[in-house]
């Protein structure tokens, strides 16, 4: 049949990326991108984040960092590791049970995803971290992009040994320029190990922030994650979690704080590949001004993964008429003896609750803040470390009072 196939017309961002890939010696990826282009809404996993349309331009590849901004989040007791402009920096003496190093190349496994491919092509070095025993201080990985607007890729590979426990906080920030950052974390959680992993995006207004957090859970592992979006113009955090050992459990949470002009996306792919694993996903989104909040969550239960128990929840709150909340919670189930479910709700603040508070003399703005804070508390509460909980609550509060 005669079907004129339209060749993909490349835009400026795609052309820059192709040139950068060619420059980095990755002609295969350059070729691939020139054929497919960046994903549009027709690509299911980018249905609500049409990269071809949203990514207008790509700044030049990053150079070494010459200047330094202040860390976006300071925790007094934390052991801080810095990745500046994609380059892991020298750090202070590591506390007991922590081995810090770096390795060539990127850290993520192969995924059919353009952001993963770009990170793999551009991340020259990965911070590598091995955690053994009960690691007391919080490990903070402070990723910053300094200097003029740049395209930067950073990567970290973290191994948590069997029976160990650790809390890792990752923050993303940098100079006040329109950077494009593509960050990756690969975290392997050993047998019966317990890990809390928190990522907070505090990038400045013009930034395009991409992050991919990949988790692999061994037998009996317990993982708690929380990802917070509180910055950038365009952000997408991809969470790929794979259950590789029986008896593992994951609590995966996210907080999407979306302000005027922002488009922030959480994309989740939880793969129950073996029997007897459980997971619980809770995502909350708040939209303000003219903004877009996106949640795509997929739970996959493999053919033999019997006795899986997975529950996913997305709750959206809209504080303005121009806010959009787009949600796609998916279940893909191939085993029969499972309990899986998802829920998704979306609406505005409850008028009765507002009335209750305002009739007691609380101003509208304050009442709104109180209710939103209450709405978000469910996600912050499980963070046990008091100092960390306080710092994250402060991030949320800053957002709540800092309406643009």
């Amino acid at each position: 049949m005669l079907k004129p196939k339209m060749p993909v017309r490349l835009n400026a961002a795609e052309e820059t990326l192709i040139a950068q890939l060619t420059g980095a010696g990755d002609s295969a990826q350059a070729e691939r991108l020139s054929v497919t282009g960046l994903p549009t809404r027709r690509v299911e996993s980018y249905h609500y984040t049409d990269l071809k349309m949203l990514l207008k331009s790509v700044p030049p590849l990053v150079g070494a960092a010459n200047t330094a901004s202040a860390p976006a989040l300071r925790l007094a007791g934390a052991y801080r590791l810095l990745i500046a402009n994609g380059e892991p920096q020298a750090s202070a003496t590591a506390p007991a049970g922590v081995i810090v190093g770096s390795s060539d190349g990127a850290a993520l496994s192969v995924h059919d995803d353009v952001l993963v491919r770009l990170n793999t092509a551009f991340a020259k070095k990965s911070l590598s971290l091995t955690l053994e025993g009960t690691v007391d201080p919080i490990i903070q990985i402070d990723r910053r992009t300094e200097g003029t607007a740049a395209h930067s890729a950073s990567s970290a590979r973290i191994f948590v040994a069997d029976d160990s426990s650790a809390t890792i906080l990752e923050t993303y920030s940098g100079s006040d320029e329109a950077h494009l950052t593509n960050n990756a974390s690969y975290i392997a959680v050993g047998r019966n190990a317990q890990v809390t992993h928190i990522t907070v995006d505090l990038s400045s207004d013009g930034v395009t922030h991409f992050a991919t957090n990949e988790y692999v859970l061994a037998e009996g592992a317990k993982l708690r994650t929380l990802a917070i979006h509180a910055g950038s113009a365009l952000a997408r955090t991809q969470i790929f979690a794979k259950f590789a050992g029986e008896g593992a459990h994951a609590d995966i949470a996210g907080l999407n704080l979306v302000d005027d002009g922002q488009h922030l996306d959480f994309t989740l792919d939880v793969n129950h590949a073996v029997p007897n694993t459980t997971s619980q996903e809770v995502f909350k989104q708040v939209g303000r001004g003219r903004s877009k909040a996106v949640f795509q969550g997929k739970i996959v239960v493999a053919r033999d993964a019997q006795k899986t128990d997975a529950k996913m929840m997305m709750q959206g709150l809209m504080l303005s008429d121009q806010a959009e909340i787009l949600s796609k919670p998916e279940l893909e189930i191939y085993a029969d003896d499972v309990v899986c479910g998802h829920g998704s709700t979306c609406g505005e603040l409850d008028a009765d609750s507002m009335f209750y508070l305002m009739s007691r003399g609380i101003s509208r703005a304050e009442a709104e803040t109180m209710l939103v804070r209450g709405f978000l508390k469910e996600v912050l509460d499980p963070i046990e470390d008091a100092e960390l909980n306080e710092a994250l609550t402060a991030v949320v509060d800053d957002w709540l009072v800092g309406g643009k």
């Binding site: 949600s327 279940l331 998802h342 998704s344």
Partner: protein, 500 residues
């Protein structure tokens, strides 16, 4: 093969019925798998502009219709087949299909007497709710007006006079194109535009027949209207087109049933159904689809790629879709509601059962555009055998759709560990006052439930059928009476051989 009669003695405590039941499982279970030997008038094989002209000429269509078709065909040539659904099938070869097949003996039947007796015998064999036999015998009971579409041509329309008395037009779409051109021109393609999607565009170019319903202002249709689709000829695609218009303050309930004979090749069925509900009108559309699903190795079967959409165009209008999907090798179908009028309401109740190697990707779209619009979705998916059953649904509220409200519940049931059940909802809220709730669960029939039933003397299959019927009950009760009974049986038939 042995039949029940060959068994000389029955073991104690096994009754003959059980043995018959077991033996009947050996043969292919598609009970509508026969083909009727009626000479057909067919178009040459393949698809081209000439075929489109041929179809249009065969149906004595006016020039504007031909132009409409040709425009659709030319657009279709530039389109790509959609690939987002969770279904897999070999590339369709449109040049290997026949796009028009008319039963030869029925040029223009005016009454049932003129219809080929073989055709009637076929309806007899089908025996589902239409009960043509009873109508023939003058039995008063069935208050169902039937428009039967065999392959591509609407064979006979019953009860037309009675309907005409209250001003209702119920005829084939080809007839409507000739006799009610102004209505067809006004509404055809106004809900599903020519360019809507690959299969809808193809349908617009080559649609052969279908039903046309027009309910005038303030009329409550006194009976359920019904079409019967049946694909008979080998390698034919059935492209029917249905258009239902309900004027202000009117009501109609429409039933659609589909079957197809057993064929080796996969047959394509790409229908388009358009509903238009004006001010305070209500349309209820019910479908029972049991096209041939292919044999036990997944060979053959119908590809059911259907675009169904209703437009709640007037304030306070209501459209309700109810579907029982048990057949077809592949189902790709999303009956949708565009809630354009203020205070309009959309409903979608669905049971989708897949067994063997069937693939179902079905769901709905509720597009909230008007103020205070509400919608409700109840979808039940049951997967057995090696099948995949996907619910895919979209709920969206436009920025101007103040006070939009949706409730969605989709439940999946898995029977066996070789099948898959998937849920893919798209929930898009562009309005702070919109309230959307969605919940989905996936589970299997618990051992406790099975034990309870079996302990009370039901065998495994009966127990499964009973539990499944309970699982889908809240959808079944939205079906008209005739379909409800049939559907319960259909569910049991569809799940035969899925346990043990």
């Amino acid at each position: 093969m042995m039949s029940a009669l060959d068994i000389p003695t029955l073991k104690e405590n096994i009754d003959r019925e059980t043995v018959d039941q077991v033996l009947s499982l050996d043969v292919d279970k598609y009970k509508y798998g026969f083909s009727t030997d009626i000479e057909s008038d067919m178009a040459p094989q393949g698809l081209s502009e000439d075929i489109v002209r041929f179809i249009s000429a065969k149906k004595n269509e006016p020039q504007w219709m031909l132009d409409w078709r040709l425009d659709a065909y030319r657009r279709w040539l530039t389109m790509d087949e959609p690939a987002w659904a969770k279904v897999h099938y070999p590339q369709l070869d449109f040049q290997d299909m026949y796009f028009y097949a008319a039963p030869k003996s029925t040029p223009a039947p005016t009454s049932l007497d003129e219809v080929d007796p073989e055709l009637l015998a076929m309806y007899d064999k089908l025996g589902i709710p239409l009960k043509e036999r009873e109508i023939l015998a003058g039995v008063e009971r069935p208050n169902v007006a039937v428009d039967a579409v065999m392959d591509s041509v609407s064979v006979v329309t019953t009860f037309r006079e009675e309907l005409a008395k209250v001003g209702i037009i119920f005829c084939s779409i080809s007839e409507a194109i000739r006799e009610h051109a102004e209505l067809v021109q006004k509404y055809l393609g106004s809900v599903v535009p020519v360019t809507d999607n690959y299969y809808a565009t193809l349908n617009s170019a080559v649609f052969t027949d279908g039903s046309f319903v027009y309910i005038p202002k303030g009329v409550r249709c006194p009976m359920e209207l019904s079409t019967y689709f049946r694909i008979n000829e080998k390698k034919t695609g059935q492209f029917e087109r249905t258009l239902i218009i309900a004027e202000d303050d009117s009501y109609v309930s429409y039933l659609e049933g589909c079957t197809a004979p057993m064929r080796d090749e996969s047959q394509l069925h790409a229908a388009v159904v358009e509903l238009v509900a004006l001010e305070n009108a209500e349309i209820k559309y019910s479908t029972v689809q049991n096209w041939y699903p292919g044999d036990k190795d997944g060979k053959g079967g119908i590809y059911n790629f259907v675009t169904k959409r209703g437009d709640c165009r007037g304030n306070g209008s209501k459209i309700s879709w109810t579907q029982v999907e048990t057949g077809s090798a592949i189902t790709w179908k999303y009956p949708s509601c565009i809630l354009r009028g203020d205070n309009s309401r959309g409903e979608f109740y669905s049971i989708a059962i897949s067994n063997g190697y069937q693939q179902v990707d079905s769901g709905t779209k509720m597009i909230h555009l008007g103020k205070n619009t509400s919608s409700k979705i109840i979808a039940k998916g049951i997967a057995a055998g090696f099948s995949d059953n996907t619910y895919r649904g979209q709920v969206s509220a436009h920025a101007k759709a103040k006070g939009a409200r949706n409730f969605t519940q989709c439940d999946s049931l898995l029977i066996g560990d070789k099948c898959g059940a998937h849920t893919v909802p798209y929930i898009e809220s562009r309005n702070a006052t919109a309230v959307f709730e969605h919940e989905a669960t996936t589970s299997k029939i618990s051992d406790d439930q099975m034990f309870y039933c079996q302990q009370r003397g039901l065998n495994e299959e009966e127990a499964v059928a009973l539990i499944v019927n309970g699982f889908v009950r809240d959808v079944l009760q939205h079906l008209p009476m005739e379909f409800m009974v049939e559907s319960q049986k259909l569910i049991a038939i569809s799940l035969e051989g899925s346990v043990g």
